[in-house]
Symmetry: C2
Subunit: 256 residues, 2 copies
């Protein structure tokens, strides 16, 4: 199978003109087939505020009422997505912006109300990667906004990390997928006070060892659990790295 | 060649939940391959007003400064487009929302400043319909927002009638295209005070005759000139009709 790199970047980097431009230049240098997944939370919060809509976050997730859903649909699916697509086209990358509703590539269900009512937030139920894979094989580079739909007419707000993981798993049937998560550090650190102490490779055995030794802890544990889940579902490799290193061999490589 | 119907609807009908639902139901009943082109001006004006941006129209076109470009990118490419796409998916139509930047399907150039500086408004220069035609042949139904790009990183606001005409001409290389313009009347009227006096068919000869006799005048002349231009460029038939009649044999059919 051909190699495909799926890069997930947070909102901040795609929401400032200078950092977006650098990111797209770095992304364009990744060899082989590729996909970009983006956030956009800061822009959504800013536009919502201008529209007089207060942004309410619980456990890092946006409470998405009807008005907020309109804002994220506009901002993620329109403003941020199309700025990325136009920016990629300008440097010769044949980008195609998508939400889960487009070609029904990702269907979700409104999250059931338990302790918290997140509103119009979707949990992914089904990924149809066939048409996406055809387009990728023709040189198209999908740019995925953090939005899905319920196949009953409603858009749903969906976490970009989840979109990236689910898309990577579905595309793993068609390509050798490397799933790349960008965060603010160069990778998973052996010593969290030393930014240069990047762990080059993590296997399940090493993961257990690092957790037991207390080297890996806190917020990195769900990140790595999700990485191993993706690997167990067919993704070839997960890389945790910094956005400016996506076109290099840097970062932490996670594999089975 | 297979038959394809490209329907252009204005903003109003897609911006109200009830009329949108009816339109999508009617659209879904059109047989064969299809494409939908939509406006969204009222929503753009409303959101712009809420954001404190005044909408300035000259000759029916929106003056598009940098802030207004962000609004139309959000509203046309995000809000309106994705509501249509999600609505079509809900009734089994495999819709794909697109701006001209997506797959670089429609490139434009910023309109030169003459008497009026329209700002970020694009005049269409190039349509790449190949990938679009492949997708249509696979059952995908493109939903085209009134936005193009300049292939230099900028989105550009582009009239939906123009998008419809240019897309129809480019797709005419791949399909037998019927281009359908919806407006508030059932078709071109023989007697403008009688809504039922729809002219069933207009040919170039009849067009000359009606213009000479004063039956066709005013705003209908540029509409028909554009229709004949599309026909001369390979479009098989142009239909001018009312939105609730798109799935019927009603309206005025224009052909060479």
């Amino acid at each position: 199978m051909e190699k495909l790199t799926l890069v997930k970047v947070g909102g901040k980097i795609v929401e400032e003109a200078a950092s977006l431009k650098q990111l797209l230049a770095d992304f364009s240098q990744i060899e082989g087939y590729k996909v970009l997944v983006h956030g956009g939370g800061r822009s959504a919060t800013a536009i919502a505020a201008k529209l007089g809509i207060e942004s309410q976050m619980v456990n890092g997730r946006r409470i998405t009422d009807e008005e907020t859903l309109k804002v994220v649909t506009m901002v993620y699916g329109g403003l941020v997505n199309k700025q990325i697509v136009a920016g990629l086209q300008a440097i010769g990358v044949n980008a195609l912006g998508l939400t889960g509703a487009d070609m029904n590539y990702m269907r979700s269900e409104k999250r059931p109300v338990k302790d918290v009512d997140y509103g119009f937030v979707g949990d992914v139920k089904e990924v149809n990667a066939g048409l996406l894979a055809d387009l990728i094989a023709k040189g198209v580079v999908p740019v995925l906004a953090p939005l899905t739909h319920d196949n009953a007419g409603n858009m749903l707000n969906t976490n970009a990390d989840t979109i990236a993981g689910e898309a990577a798993k579905a595309l793993a049937k068609h390509f050798d997928v490397t799933l790349m998560y960008c965060f603010e550090k160069k990778g998973v650190l052996l010593n969290e006070t030393d930014d240069e102490s990047v762990i080059a490779r993590i296997t399940p055995e090493l993961y257990q060892k690092y957790v037991t030794e207390g080297i890996i802890s806190g917020g990195m544990i769900p990140k790595l659990d999700n990485s191993f889940e993706a690997l167990n579902a067919g993704v070839k490799q997960v890389v945790i790295t910094r956005a400016d290193l996506i076109h290099t061999e840097g970062g932490t490589k996670i594999s089975l």
